[in-house]
Amino acid sequence: MRVRIRYEKGDEQRFLGHLEVMRALVMALARAGWPVAMTKGYTPRPKVEMAAPLPVGTAGLNEVADVYLSEDRSIEDLGRSLAEAMPPGFKLKEVWRISPDETALERRITASTYSVLVYGAEHASLKRAVECFLDKTEARYAREVRGRTLETHKWPDGPEKSREIDLRPFVSRIEVVPRNEPALSAGNRTQPLATFREISPPVLKMVLRHFQGRTVRPAWILDFLVKYCGLEGVDPRESVVDREWLDWGDGGSHDSRDPRK
């Protein structure tokens, strides 16, 4: 039995990495008593497939994962037990059965919708930088980590390997919107420092494409805006990124679940 779950990696647990989210899910499944199938091989692992890993720092409102079960259970029971077992900061939103031979999630995802709080930017200057970006036909970007360019990316219609990546084809939509706090249902858990004043930063919405499991990160786009589109006063590391929705193609069963529709 193959089951797809839709869940939230909430605001408070945004700093977990992909493997930590996987670990949290696997442990929640164990607490829920799901008969999770194990992978074959020397070190069997629970058969759980996650799509489009979220980077450290990014929350996800509607993440999806597939779980393979060794025996059949009713969807209602599965949903109830897992909802109770989810760790703090996570929420189970939906569980449904899918065909065992459906294409792997990773391959089917076509786009991610992000909302990014851009600290340090003014609404107007961010808007100008976005317009500058949209005017470009190419946006070559080399990702830097601690001053070193690491990534060797493959990208569609480009040479097989490069230190750079063209961000432009990945961006399906990008726009500045008024801040819509609270961005996530988890919300703030404590009141702010009395002395701490925050001017509400502008929000950047973007829809980024996935090509055969490959995509780019909102922080890279923001970094590009800073480096090549004249965006000032912004440290891309300070942006707060939420992935709001994942699209998985063919106009499949997901459409009715999209809160935007």
Binding site: F15, M27, E198
Partner: protein
């Protein structure tokens, strides 16, 4: 009287934190919110307790003692216990830049907003981190500088039994088992606060609690040569402070719903303590003294706790922890019980294997053979040295264990040894290599392709052991003996690893030190010493130059101590008598063994009669309470 006003009731806002945390490595170390963590409304409790583990989160979350104290304190309605861990240097730097104090994970409150700050001391090389935590938390470093508004700063854990270098910074040490003691300290604090009396009264009343050592109530005098002349208690403090012992683990509270970290901890598994204490009497082992007598849990209790923890955590492995788990007679029964009745598929593991074929059988039962690795700790290479340290393991035991391992499908055997033991000669050191060769040969004869991985650490003569008077042989000598082995342990099927001799050296100084080292710890902290237990982080030259400036000679602390000398930890009573330790030392010199007190008559260490306790042992078939063998 109402709650005291604290300096800083402000907490760090989530908005501020989440904006900046992406700049540090593993930011989830600082965000908490784990399963089974306890967040109480501060206004609903009367005492707020910050439990600080002075190492990084992943290490602290693997520490069973802290989980026990967290559980014990949060079980009280009047107390909220929150956790904090040492920030990694990048986080410390960010915190200083942003003006963030060290805060707890549960409510993001700074340490100085708490009533009590309690450190868990598991290792001497965390001393600089203790000072860093206090300083970052906004707590005055010196006990003498703290006023009525400041938190009470306490410390517990095994290192507290000889933590004189921290004497000026810690208001009170909690010695021994914390199950009852932690709550008694909270009660004492509450009573003092209600009384409105000055802080000195708090410390004096704490000294009346058995197991609490208040260092400021002891005047320490040194001779011109630096020897301890006198440790004089004042204000009615006891001459010697007795360690606390929780006499029956069956009645002990246990964290059956442990905090489950999101980040993978160093030991990523559920832990059930099957017994406390160890009867083997290895002469080098500090824990062997500090956790006496042996107190076992009933096998049913162990199985029940294992089931509950697995259900409450979702771990796929449960470790049956103790100082020597194969000594637990019903071990096989418990393992089988857990494997058949666990709520979800789970493995069982044992952290400490004995060197014999029975232990190998056990690990086969645990299904570890498939993974290829088995770890044994003969501790010394020659029989002579093993008799000196009272490690009751014969060459035959080692070879039997290896034979059983190879025939059960293990191909990799990891062996732990110490070098620098008292009376050790080069032949004894080389015997380590000889033993490794023999095991490799045995594996080859049995038709496997064996790997023998030898891991060697430098011996530090620890306080409260039979070897406490022995000298630390010195860093150069440790390195020379390492290189002796390094030359021999090359070749196919052999691996050689050894501990950083710089760490061993610093550990020897700090663990055997007196109060004068406090200034050195402070200066080392100020100059940037952090995470000295991490080989890459330790700057030994920094420590040595701090010692030089304080006019303290490292050799003074590593030297052999006279038997009539006052040792810096003599006023802390572990229960085991000095006379017994001296007898053991003499027997070590005669290469004479002392049998295990499980099987042989009582060797007279002194703990049971002096503290009114007794070993609590379960029989092999032991099921009912009546089978418990209490009266020895």
């Amino acid at each position: 009287m109402g709650k005291l006003r604290k300096h800083n009731e402000e907490i760090i806002s989530w908005e501020e934190l989440r904006r900046h945390l992406n700049k540090v490595t593993k930011p989830a170390r600082y965000t908490g919110g784990e399963l089974n963590s306890v967040r109480k409304d501060p206004s609903s409790v009367s005492v707020r307790f910050a439990l600080v583990f002075p190492d990084v989160y992943e290490v602290g979350m693997s520490h069973l003692g802290s989980q026990i104290i967290y559980h014990v304190l949060n079980s009280r309605d009047d107390t909220a216990c929150e956790r904090a861990y040492s920030p990694w240097p990048d986080m410390e730097e960010l915190s200083r830049r942003r003006g963030w104090p060290l805060f707890t994970l549960e409510s993001r409150s700074p340490l100085n907003s708490f009533d009590i700050v309690g450190f868990s001391l598991a290792y001497e090389l965390t001393y600089a981190n203790v000072l860093a935590a206090l300083d970052l938390g906004g707590v005055p470093l010196f006990s003498a500088e703290r006023g009525r508004e400041d938190p009470l700063v306490i410390a517990g854990g095994p290192v507290s039994m000889a933590a004189e270098p921290l004497a000026e910074f810690i208001d009170a040490f909690a010695l021994g088992d914390g199950e009852d003691l932690a709550g008694e300290i909270v009660d004492c604090y509450k009573k003092w606060r209600a009384s409105g009396k000055p802080r000195s009264e708090l410390l004096e009343s704490l000294a009346d609690v058995q197991g609490v050592y208040v260092p400021s109530l002891y005047d320490v005098q040194y001779s011109n040569e630096g020897f301890l002349v006198e440790v004089r208690p004042k204000a009615g403090a006891p001459k010697r402070v007795r360690r606390r012992i929780f006499s029956d683990l069956e009645k002990a509270p246990y964290p059956e719903r442990p905090v489950v970290p999101f980040i993978e901890p160093v030991h990523d598994r559920a832990m059930v303590e099957i017994f406390r204490g160890c009867t083997r009497g290895c002469r080098f082992c500090q824990a062997g003294t500090l956790y006496r007598p042996v107190r076992e849990r009933e096998p049913e209790t162990v199985s029940r706790i294992a089931r509950e923890i697995l259900a409450a955590s979702g771990y796929d492995e449960v470790s049956l922890v103790s100082l020597s788990s194969a000594d637990y007679l019903p071990i096989r029964q418990v393992i089988e019980d857990i494997l058949t009745h666990s709520p979800c598929p789970a493995r069982v593991s044992l952290p400490s294997l004995r060197v014999d074929s029975f232990s190998v059988e056990l690990s086969k039962l645990l299904g570890e053979a498939g993974y290829g690795g088995l770890t044994l700790a003969p501790e010394a290479g020659s029989q002579r040295m093993r008799d000196v340290i009272n490690k009751n393991v014969t060459e035959e035991d080692v070879m039997d264990a290896a034979k059983a391992a190879f025939s059960s499908g293990f191909t990799r055997i990891k062996l732990y040894f110490m070098i620098g033991l008292p009376g050790e000669t080069d032949e004894d050191v080389l015997a380590i290599a000889e033993l490794a060769y023999r095991i490799r040969q045995l594996g080859r004869d049995m038709g496997t392709k064996p790997t023998v991985a030898v891991s060697v650490s430098g011996f530090v003569p620890k306080p409260h052991t039979a070897f406490q008077w022995e000298p630390f042989i010195g860093r150069d000598e440790i390195e020379r003996r390492q290189s002796l082995l390094c030359k021999r342990l090359r070749g196919p099927g052999l691996e050689f690893r050894y501990h950083d001799s710089r760490q061993t050296y610093l550990e020897a100084i700090l663990s055997r030190g007196d109060r004068r080292l406090g200034r050195v710890v402070l200066e080392a902290y100020r100059r940037g010493a952090r995470f000295d237990s991490w080989p890459d982080m330790l700057d030994l030259d920094l420590w040595l130059s701090c010692m030089k400036e304080a006019s303290l000679e490292p050799g003074f602390f590593t030297r052999e101590r006279g038997q009539d000398e006052i040792l810096p930890w003599d006023h802390l009573d572990p229960g085991v008598t000095k006379e017994f330790l001296l007898v053991e030392r003499a027997k070590a010199r005669r290469e004479e063994k002392t049998p295990d007190c499980r099987e042989a008559p009582c060797p007279g260490c002194g703990v049971c009669p002096r503290f009114g306790v007794a070993p609590v042992l379960t029989r092999r078939d032991g099921t009912s309470k009546g089978a418990r063998d209490r009266a020895r």
